[in-house]
Assembly symmetry: C2
Homo-oligomer: 484 residues x 2
């Protein structure tokens, strides 16, 4: 029988039983202890090493649990057979640093993706967080409803009904952690084999997510009213993804006639659906909000997707789907197994934020802030040389400048960057590389009001100027505005 | 030309321009205003209604935005052509109540799914929440890293290395809102066309999620060492889903020999993977923790999935994947488009919770608590009649009682329920309806210590007793313990 030759450390980091366990494990791994070899009994081992029998017992228990040794009744402990030796790699604690080199920053960045977080209601959010966590709310830490909490879905329904004219019952609302996740979940309900049509240019991120989800995606031309319905019909698509209230990035508002044509297209065949992405409809600066497309849908054809990323902050990770009834039935079959991806404390905070009017107040505050930037930017850009027309204004948090063809798009952007101003190419939103007029996007959500004038002045320097041609230019500009 | 016949309310809820807009919209919808009909100029309309010209302008702007009318330069405003009338449904604010009838509650519920939330560190959590939200942390509300924040991934890597022997760099860790979501994300990396083998009985929820994700799933028998590798080889599966440290629900710990066989199976063909679900390995009451399977994997074949649902609370919705390098490459191609589903404030709180040792303290507290319940329950169940063997002990938060065949499983459960004790059928964890010994599951995470004895006493009454047969029964019990 094998004899254990081990000097135990009296006061090491490890318990005695761990030292024994480690030693025997290494002996087995190194082959010193052979398969089927018999180990001393716990009594004998305890004697050999001058430890208590329970210490020996504990060491063997661990080896038994991990399968290194086995206990044969009335015979004792034996080393197990193993196919090959088991080597625990040393596995250092060295941790690589990911490449997170800072992005080159431009003094003036007209990014269309940001949100002004200087005005986020931190104090309210903290207060709600304290309130929600007060009194040890056990209930909130249990798993909740897969669709999201009823109270939050109810608050969202009320909001959507009032603000967006959406026809919705709380049971149609599915809450999820961001649009990407909801697209993933929606794919479960829609199933495979669909072709999804999106406008060109469009929100490329959504396009790429659908591609990743295995869908056949295509783009359809758009004019000043939105997606070309004839081209949609010819595309073979059975799902159309649109942003009728404020198309991203063009800012086109789809008029009622085009909406009806789109709804008619969907009604023509069973299984056709329209996904309405209503990402920034909260911010409209002139007149009443444009109603949602969903509100005119009488045939259960519109899947509405909304988010709090623009209206509150990207990182709160709360978006929602409003499903038409046929897809809600599918959800019950294939979707409700997936647990809700938003924590219940976060859901509760948002629910209270909405119920107590904080959301409304925040929206009004942000709308006023964004509007002042919008108005200022619109005034300022009229000073610019080379701008044929401004589009996408009145809503959202970005505008489009259609530029003179004297330079290609990249040249307008390069010249701006040289002056320290980052503007964004419209062409990047085109999936297909179709011929387009040069155009740049200016987002103003993260641009301080006082910086807007400074940044536009830089653009003026970048893009040249005519000192005395402004009036003539202005009337030409207005003509272009109408024509485009 | 059409003349507007409208009595404006001086002090209604609506602005003057809204009243004009609503009126004209209804006139168009009802057909009183026909397609291509010309509307009065804003000057004329203002005169007719005795409103300012800017009010008239605003009403027309809204109608223009929504596409009801169009402006023809130098000619005026005309009603648009529409395919069919657009009817805004009245859309009541009635909200259905979902059927949420309270679950029948049993006085003593041995649910295996719960977590003791009475001992959740609410005060610490509140403190972290306050701290994270203090000083208006703008950065935390911007969109973060799709994999999850580096600092949290780093904290998880350190924990996994120390506690589970997992070989991991932070870049291999992907954070997501719950296991269901991570299975969904993993499906993007794995692609379609795989057959996934799970043990029987198994964690059915994961099985059903894989089915929903479109995978061909099969079950493989298990013995007292875990999944039958020969049967796995014959199953045609290329992915095996296992819980080697404490199989759910049987509690089997996979010994080193079987682990090596499993790893060898995976190495035999390219594209084979093992998913290691390490859901409750934190709770082990005897000896050291069982190392993870991933720690013995030298061929990049193990996908490790861990969660904080058991160790902290189900509703914090934070789980993680540790990807082997080949799948990390796939993630870069097809996964990183999906934004992280956990809010950055929640990530930050968990990161601090781990870095400051709160997680360790919490685990130790819960382990001690669960162990005392485990020990008491094990002692108590020996008093029960009809229990052939107890399995799955020493780890996790549930045990299995293999019962006498004198009654079918359902009868054991029915009798318990009659006495107000809810125990759970093992057969429900079997996907295939294979013949099994009757067995019931007793979870003790949510059972107060003082209730355990009371509940087991109820079970004793439910399942009968022999006053003087205890000793004889006990030795028979011990024999069964060894044999099963």
């Amino acid at each position: 029988m094998y004899e254990i030759m081990l000097d135990l450390e009296g006061k090491g980091n490890k318990n005695l039983y761990e030292q024994i366990y480690e030693f025997i494990k290494k002996e087995i791994q190194s082959g010193n202890l052979k398969c089927r070899e018999r180990l001393p009994s716990t009594r004998k081992l305890a004697g050999q090493l001058s430890v208590s029998r329970s210490t020996a017992q504990l060491a063997y228990e661990q080896l038994l649990s991990e399968g290194y040794i086995e206990s044969v009744p009335c015979r004792g402990y034996f080393v197990c057979e193993m196919e090959e030796l088991y080597h625990l790699k040393p596995g250092g604690t060295v941790q690589e640093k990911e490449d997170r080199s800072a992005k080159k920053s431009c003094p003036y960045d007209f990014t269309p993706n940001g949100v002004d977080l200087a005005h986020f209601p931190y104090a309210t959010w903290r207060k709600l967080s304290r309130e929600v966590l007060r009194d040890d709310p056990q209930e909130l830490f249990h798993l909740g409803d897969p669709k999201g909490e009823y109270a939050l879905r109810s608050a969202i329904s009320t909001y959507l009904h009032q603000a967006r004219g959406v026809n919705v019952q709380p049971s149609q609302v599915i809450i999820g952690a961001g649009n990407d996740y909801l697209q993933m979940l929606l794919a479960r309900m829609l199933g495979t084999g669909h072709r999804i049509a999106m406008e060109s240019p469009t929100y490329r991120h959504a396009y790429e997510i659908f591609l990743r989800l295995g869908y056949d995606c295509c783009t359809v031309s758009m004019d000043h009213q939105g997606m070309d319905i004839q081209e949609l019909g010819a595309s073979g698509a059975d799902i159309a993804y649109v942003m009728p209230s404020h198309q991203y990035p063009t800012g086109v508002v789809m008029p009622i006639k085009r909406r009806q044509e789109l709804l008619q297209w969907a009604s023509k065949e069973e299984g056709r659906y329209i996904i309405e992405d209503d990402y920034d409809s909260e911010f409209r600066y002139v007149g009443k909000p444009i109603p949602s497309l969903q509100s005119s849908d009488t045939n259960q054809k519109v899947i509405y997707i909304g988010t709090f990323s623009k209206a509150i902050a990207p990182s709160i990770r709360i978006s929602y789907l409003v499903l038409p009834w046929p897809l809600l039935v599918r959800y019950e079959q294939v979707g409700k197994n997936f647990s809700c991806t938003v924590s219940r404390t976060d859901q509760k905070m948002l629910q209270l934020f909405m119920e107590r009017g904080c959301f409304e107040r925040h929206l009004n505050k942000m709308r006023a802030l964004y509007r002042s930037r919008h108005d200022l930017l619109l005034t300022e850009v009229r000073r610019l040389e080379g701008v044929r027309a401004v589009k996408g204004e009145r809503s959202g948090v970005h505008i489009l400048l259609y530029m003179d063809r004297k330079w290609p798009e990249a040249e307008w952007i390069r010249r701006a960057a040289e002056q320290g101003v980052q503007v964004y190419p419209l062409s990047e939103y085109c999936v297909d590389q179709r011929e387009m007029e040069p155009a740049v996007i200016l987002g103003y959500a993260t641009m301080e009001t006082e910086d807007i004038s400074l940044a536009v002045e830089k653009l003026r320097q970048a893009w040249g100027q005519t000192e005395n041609g402004n009036n003539c230019r202005k009337s030409e500009f207005d003509k272009n505005q109408r024509d485009l």
